[in-house]
Amino acid sequence: MSENNPDKDEQTSGTKKTISLPISRVRLIMKSSPDVSSINQDALFLTTKATELFVQHLAVSSFNNGPGKETNTLSYSDLANTAEDTETFHFLTDILPKKILARDYLKSLEEMQEEEADF
């Protein structure tokens, strides 16, 4: 697989790089959390690496659970379904909401209003 993706990082430095996401950006995201005062180098490295593993894990799980195997595609709905169905990905349901048709939404809105009117 990696043969088809020439890795630029390996060319720039002699030693094999262990992470590809920019550490500085990860630190910025971590520091945006108000309670965090400081982060040591190892913790920063581990979080960056964990984020890469997470991206892989989310993509592979969604692809394997989704219907895209025949069509060879990974779509948004595969991700939204994984977020809902897999417990470890539940924390993503807020940013990966399931898409519903406007008419279904309006219908459920109507139903809710009717229920309220019943009171």
Partner: protein, 152 residues
Amino acid sequence: MAERPEDLNLPNAVITRIIKEALPDGVNVSKEARRAISQAASVFVLYATSCANNFAMKAKRKTLNAGDVLAAMEEMEFERFLEPLREALEVYKKGQKGKKEVSEQKRKDKEKKAESSENDKSREDEEEEEEHMEEEEPADVENEAEEEEVEN
């Protein structure tokens, strides 16, 4: 602190590459899916940070350390990441140590030379240049990531 909201995004090109490498060859990942994974990754960082920070606070420490991050992974039920993370940290630490030893050695060599031949100025200058180059290397790697982002 982040000045623009997009500062809290991870570079799309790198995220896309990680996704492509993880999936079988030839899988088409929709633009929407890529964007969603990238956002999910940012949320993951925040969630992990907050969990790790709880462990640090419990232990009355102000600085997040490797143990806090690993404990956070367990709490988030990403135990599957623990082994690869420990291995990666090992490699990373060795790399850091190697770098340290090299620069330490250089410093000692330099001191020795400075002692033995104080008037040999040209040689010292040469060494200084070498050190500058070494310092620039990590910055290059960062720049590359930034450049990739611009491409998209």
